[in-house]
Amino acid sequence: MPIFSPSVDVTQWPSFSISHWQKLTGVNSFILAGVTANHECIPSFLSRPDRVAHGPRTYYTDEAIQSRVQIGISFGATDAHIRDLSACNDSPASLAASYASVLDAFNSTHIDVLFASRLSVNASSVAMRAEALALLQTGFEVRRSTNLTVTLSFESASVTDGLDPDAIAVVQAVHDAGVLVHSVNVALKEPPLLRMGLAVPSNEPTSSVRDRDIKKRGFKSHRVHKGINTVNGQLLHASNQDPTASSAGMKIASAVKKQMNTFSNVRGVMLVPVLASKGLQFTTADAVDLMTWAETQPWLSFGLSSANADAEGVSGTRKSPVAAISQMSSLIRIQTVSILLILVALFVPVWWSTTQVHRAVLPTDQIRALAAAEAKNVFHTRVAVRFVSGKGQPKAVAESLQTHLNNLFGGASFHFAVRADTSTEETQSTSGLYQLRIDCGVKNIQGEGSVKLFEDRVVSLQTPAECADTESIVAQAVAVVGGLFLDERADFARISGSSSHNNDDIRKVKFAPEYQLIFNLMNADPVNLLVSWDIQAAIKDYFQNFVDAVEKLYDFKIKSQTKYFTSLPIDPEVINAGEDGEMAYCLRPHHLPHFINSAEWSFGGSVVSTAPPLNFVVYVPPHAQSPLYIMGHDQGFLKTNSFLIPQWGGISIVNPPKMAPAAVIHENGTTQAIRTVPPKWTLSSSDLSDPMHIFIYQMREILGVKTVGLGSTEQLLPGFQFNYESSSVGITKWELDRLARLTTIQNIRNAVNTLNSLITLIESMEDMVVQDHIREKVMVSLNAISTANAILSENAQETQSPAVNSSHDIALAASRAAIVAAERAFFDPTMVSLLYFPNEHKFAVYMPLFLPVGVPLVGTLVQEIKKRLQKRREGKTKTE
């Protein structure tokens, strides 16, 4: 049974670990090489005084005992400079004692004696060693009651024909001394120490490498250690070998065996291939061939062993070398792969967690579904029918009116619940609850009826029809009530339909829950006239009621300011106007877009609040430009002398009274002051009446208030008189309700669109951080949208009780909450922040990694493809 048993160069640096190699290769016996005499004649490894080979604690003893391996000791020098132990001992007995002391220190039962060819082997020293071996072997059995395995190692420069005569002489001497030799080890190439498993790829004998040299040549020595790694690999993967090596090895082995046949006490031969030196070297196939062959030869071992039963006991090996080598390489592979896997398992989570971007999960599907779905919002509207005269059949009229109205609208936008109101008390008017007063059998002068739209959600119908004539009353009532709401249905269809813009909508400012209302008095020429105004009173008198009326839609913060030296950036035209041929200045429509000099006039929008500002300007032109008028397209002055800037505000020009200038410019260019203090002109509340009413009108336009009329009814009921009650506050309840409904629908739509844009944005930017509070806002908005949609769904139950908050108001509040939350989420400052490293940066940083890693990968891939192609080609040729 051939075994694999490496011989260890003890002096190599970094030092060799027996236990490691035992674990790695499964080899159970090692030979510690090179015990020679140091300068004090003490046995030590390669004569090094620090590596004493005997004594209580010698080098490697602990490790050898701990790892429970068999230790063999190789004696003998490889170099002439190093003294063999025989040179220090004058008798075979003392030499045997020296040998024994080392063997005992390692509890070893295997002695190897090296006869290097380069060592001048003189006959007396050989004889001495032979006798010492004989003494040792016999004494050993007595002393340790076990057999001592003796092997002789030779290295020869030319062993192709067997051992050289010197070696034969040595074997002869040992044989003569009566030593039982378990095997003769033949190093197939020198140096002898470099045996299988421990080959040092150098011609230089390791023994000559002195301590300082090792240190000096640290790198090389290190490579030696690595060499151990690769020698085994080399056996498998060695390239560039002599293909005849295996047969040469067999030849040598056979030749040596033949030579040994003359020696009766030599049991076997062992081949020790020396690798990586020039000449005889082995390929995988060769080595395996040789080992396989060695296994069939009972006298031959491979590596270091004996074929006989004794040697087996000495080495105690369990594995065949082929198995050991192949197992070892697969072990390395498994180790490497598992280390890689561990690294990946460790670092991928770390990398993942450190580069991860926090992205709160948003209800994307829900939003997408809302955006895709066609909005079908229905306002549940109640109509109370009351007969003023008390005659008539309110119930029948109500039932019939409800059916007709709902048929007219077909379930879109409005759903009517009509009931008869027989109570005499006035019901409190809320949005979504309207009263139809019918006065039947009343004719006007023309003999027809009349319709009057009251400000407070009441429409009255005076009809010439008899009170009993329910049918015609209902027909007229449908025309009246339907006419009030039909325009609105068209508005809703436009909003939820597509983005076709109406010209009216251009003026309308974007919805916000709060606006800053800033009233500006622009005094262009304070030198000549100091204008002040009683704006607080004016707002109280004219504006406050309007603001209060639209309170449920918007909050307003009202401020005022006076600005001076606000001259126009445009030159008004000079024209002669008036009876006495006075000069007047006029602005044409094409001037007006340039009227506002916003770079120079600070309009006082707050830096604290984010509410959008609406500006209303009372412009007092300078003395030199007054009176200033606006000329319309029809070449006439506008009576209002004011204009509206869409989505921004309104401007009203108030011309100052005529006054003499404060300074006169003489013809020589000098100025002469006439006054030291400018005259003052205060605009009282009544002076401001006109501008304020204009501002209310402009405000209506900007907020998108639409008039509620009976335009379509007028055509349906010819001859009827139509009257409208005007509002004292600037907006009727009908208009307010219409504005609220429109705002509700628009807000829901805009909130859905904003949320949709938000998720589109988030999805398109993967490095964008999405914080949890964004998600909260989105959820608030979504909840509000669904609340509003639930109220405005077709199936919603309308409570009949005239609640304080009607469903219209609740829907408005919900829609307002929805748009506010959606906008807050969209315009949140944290939504701007991106990850510090975008993908482009990452690639730039990782390029030094990707490129060198990629090259071997791509190379292997190419090779693999080539191999495949070649195989396929070969397969084809074979089949052919």
Partner: protein, 554 residues
């Protein structure tokens, strides 16, 4: 100056009592020193009533501010006698008293909102004021009008902030009389519209010329806002704006003499008084000499003993110009170094290298009386102070003898807030009594911290500016008022890393990983097989290889 302020305040009070309208007042004081340097101090005061819209009033109301002062300064050659509002340190200094209970949010939240709002209003990088460089001084900015139990004080400075036209423009727009007109539109037909020539702007603000102001040796513009409420609803906001410019006609002119005129200094003339002023607009001129000069211009000034200045009154809609011509116009340049300030503060760095450092603050008191002062030092967290090294030494001002201080004279209290890295600065507030005619030196040592790679500014090796120390001089008697002095700004160099290092490390480690990868990959994947000599053929590209070595020895 204090008297002047008192007059202005008195004027405010009288006006605001009569009507709830906004009022305003402005004064220009030109002060020339023997060296020829002219310090122009433009003072504007406004009072904004409750219903009026004003950007600063809006800020004060919105953030619950009782009192606030903001200054933008550049240059150090400030003449402390001529400026009167005091010499301010370079950069931005902001402090505000804010109401503790406010509907909006906490004081700290409002403080950061305030800095952002001011940053927007003045186009300055005030948003760099963070809790990291904001302090809460205890005894440095005390003010009688603010109840310190109801309000909290925040103070911060940005010594590196550079002020320029972009700050001046919004600043001047806060003045009621300075809305500019488009000149170009009116110049072509000058005769048609006389008013345009008259008042492109009115008032002393019409002298503002960015070229002249930013060519000055020192300029400082400031805003002081204080809010006074008579009742819960009736509040007025008083806004004081000051612009101090130190101009040097000696440097500016070719003649190297002291003569100057408004046209020469500012390149402009005053376009009449602002019509909104309730009281007369005055231009005060203080000259270094009592005689030997004459005033140019049509209007001649009147000497006012009380104000120690020549006084001009501006008229409505009347161009105003003036100048001074000396009979002996040679400047007394030796005067420049002299300073007559009673209390002075100087600060400089000690230590060496980029690790250990120290600060030495030298306060001299020329007054014969002992004075109590409070020193406020706000240092960024990366200056790691060692408070045990704080030492005080007091010398006599002329004999340089070390004075031994008895307990009553010392009267020293120390408030110290240690820094928390990246959260708050270290704040030292030291109240001490300076003996008469003495020099007191405070020293302490610090370590310079290693700060993170990303915390360095783009120009890292320039160093970090630290704001000026503030010396509050407490009044010695009832008639006096508390005032503040600012020390020099320090430039502290911190240890700077090699900024390319992270990238080197990344590329290096990537390369190493890649090399290992290649080895391991080859070991796993590649199977080495021997080639027969017969397989070894010299390829066409192996031109440098000898035929023999490829095919082996035969």
């Amino acid at each position: 100056m204090r008297r002047l302020v008192a007059i202005i305040i008195a004027a405010w009070v009288s006006i605001s009592a009569s009507a709830a309208q906004s009022t305003q007042h402005e004064t220009l004081h030109l002060h020339q020193r023997p060296s020829g340097r002219v310090t122009a101090h433009f003072a504007f005061a406004q009072s904004v009533a409750q219903s009026q819209a004003h950007a600063l009033d809006d800020i004060a109301r919105g953030f619950g501010i009782d009192e606030m002062a903001l200054s933008f300064t550049q240059g150090t050659r400030c003449d402390s006698i001529a400026t009167k509002v005091g010499c301010r340190p370079p950069g931005v200094v902001l402090w505000a008293w804010m109401r503790n209970n406010h509907s909006l949010s906490s004081v700290d939240t409002r403080w950061s909102a305030l800095t952002n709002a001011l940053a927007g209003t003045f186009c300055a990088s005030l948003n760099f004021i963070t809790p990291e460089n904001s302090a809460e001084p205890q005894s440095s900015f005390t003010h009688s009008s603010v109840n310190s139990s109801l309000s909290s004080l925040r103070y911060a400075s940005l010594p590196r902030e550079i002020t320029c036209t972009e700050n001046l423009t919004p600043w001047s727009k806060l003045l009621p009389c300075s809305t500019k007109v488009n000149h170009l539109a009116h110049i072509k037909d000058r005769k048609m519209k006389p008013y345009c020539i008259l008042g492109s702007k009115a008032g002393i603000a019409s002298l503002f010329n960015a070229y002249a102001i930013y060519d000055a040796d020192y300029h400082s513009m400031s805003v002081e806002v204080s809010r006074k409420c008579t009742s819960d609803t009736e509040c007025t906001t008083e806004i004081r704006q000051d612009l101090v410019v130190a101009l040097d006609p000696v440097r500016k002119g070719y003649q190297r003499n002291m003569d100057w005129s408004l046209q020469f200094l500012f390149g402009k003339e005053v376009a009449g008084s602002c019509p909104l002023n309730e009281i007369e607009t005055n231009i005060l001129v203080t000259l270094p000499k009592a005689e030997g000069f004459e005033f140019e211009g049509k209007v001649k000034p009147v000497y006012n003993d009380e104000k120690n200045a020549w006084v001009y009154s501006l008229e409505l809609a009347k161009q105003f110009s003036m100048g001074v011509k000396y009979s002996d116009s040679k400047p007394d340049l030796s005067e420049k170094s002299k300073s007559t300030e009673l209390i002075q503060i100087h600060r400089h760095l000690t230590g060496y290298g980029r690790e250990r450092g120290g600060i030495k603050i030298r306060i001299s008191n020329r007054d014969t009386k002992p004075r109590t002062v409070t020193l406020l030092e706000v240092l960024p967290w990366f200056i790691k102070l060692y408070m045990h090294t704080l030492q005080r030494t007091t010398y006599h001002i002329t004999s340089q003898e070390v004075l031994s201080l008895s307990g009553e004279v010392v009267n020293q209290t120390l408030k110290y807030q240690p820094a928390i890295p990246r959260i708050r600065p270290s704040v030292i507030e030291l109240t001490a009594t300076l003996p008469g005619e003495s020099i007191t030196v405070f020293t302490f040592q610090f370590d310079r911290a290693f700060i993170k790679y990303t915390e360095h500014p783009p120009d890292a090796n320039r160093g970090f500016d630290t704001g000026a120390a503030i010396l509050t001089v407490h009044p010695a008697s009832r008639t006096e008022k508390e005032y503040r002095l600012f020390s020099d700004v320090l430039l502290i160099a911190l240890p700077t890393p090699d900024f390319s290092m992270p990238y080197n490390v990344i590329t290096m480690s990537c390369t190493i990983v890649a090399l290992y990868f290649g080895t391991v990959f080859n070991l796993i994947v590649k199977k080495l097989e021997g080639l027969d000599d017969s397989q070894l053929k010299k390829k066409w590209w192996m031109f440098w290889v000898k035929e023999r070595s490829v095919l082996g020895k035969k």
